[in-house]
Amino acid sequence: MTNESPTLIAWSSFADNNITVAELKTRYLYSNFRGARIPRGTLNFRPSFNFLISGCWTIVKEIPNTKLLVSLNHNYSESAKMEIFDLSQKTVKRIDSFDRVLGGKRKLLLEFARKTLSLVLLFLSKPFLLSLIHGIILETGFGDVTYNCRRGLLGAISVEKETAYHLYHVGYSSQKNNYCVKLLKKSKWQPQFDAGDGG
């Protein structure tokens, strides 16, 4: 986990998102801890043994030049969650846990409640129906994460039709003697993303 020869390797399990860090040469188990977790949904059937059925996907990624690991847990049609861990000490420390980003069914339900109210006023107008149809596909997907070393920018978590990605800044706070991760913005969804889906 340096610019030289790698010494550690990390991986995450599917649904439970258990993260294991091991030394490459010795295979010594450096650490094992729980990554970002999404509460079991009540609106969907989600057995934990198969990501293809559950729609769960986890990602673990190192932030270069730090001892930080980003952990993502995506439930394709429901929500996504991100947490940041500090591996500088033997005991892994969670330094940031961000609010779960809702997509899919949960978001749809909230949207539906809001728009049902509008329905009374709008009498099933065309804009209402179109926005309801768009609400059906507010997915968080399987996710991806990327990082720019020069500016300390971290991008993660998309919500289809709404947010292209969440942009965070990773910086070191000498006062707190620790890293600090701050949400900068939610990048807007560009209409050109929908090219090819008929949207």
Partner: protein, 49 residues
């Protein structure tokens, strides 16, 4: 959105959608710069310079 990447200077982002569209936009302003539609949705895409 399937995957995305920042360029080395951190001012441009490339995003590709699951429908096969790759879009380049300004990281600071979100301003649309360019997009192309592929005949086949890519697995991932990166900015190489």
């Amino acid at each position: 959105m399937s995957s995305f990447d920042f360029n080395p200077t951190g001012d441009t982002v490339a995003i590709h959608s699951r429908y096969g569209a790759i879009l380049i936009s300004d990281l600071n302003t979100d301003e649309y710069k360019y997009h192309m539609e592929l005949s086949e949705a890519p697995s991932n895409s990166i900015i190489i310079r």
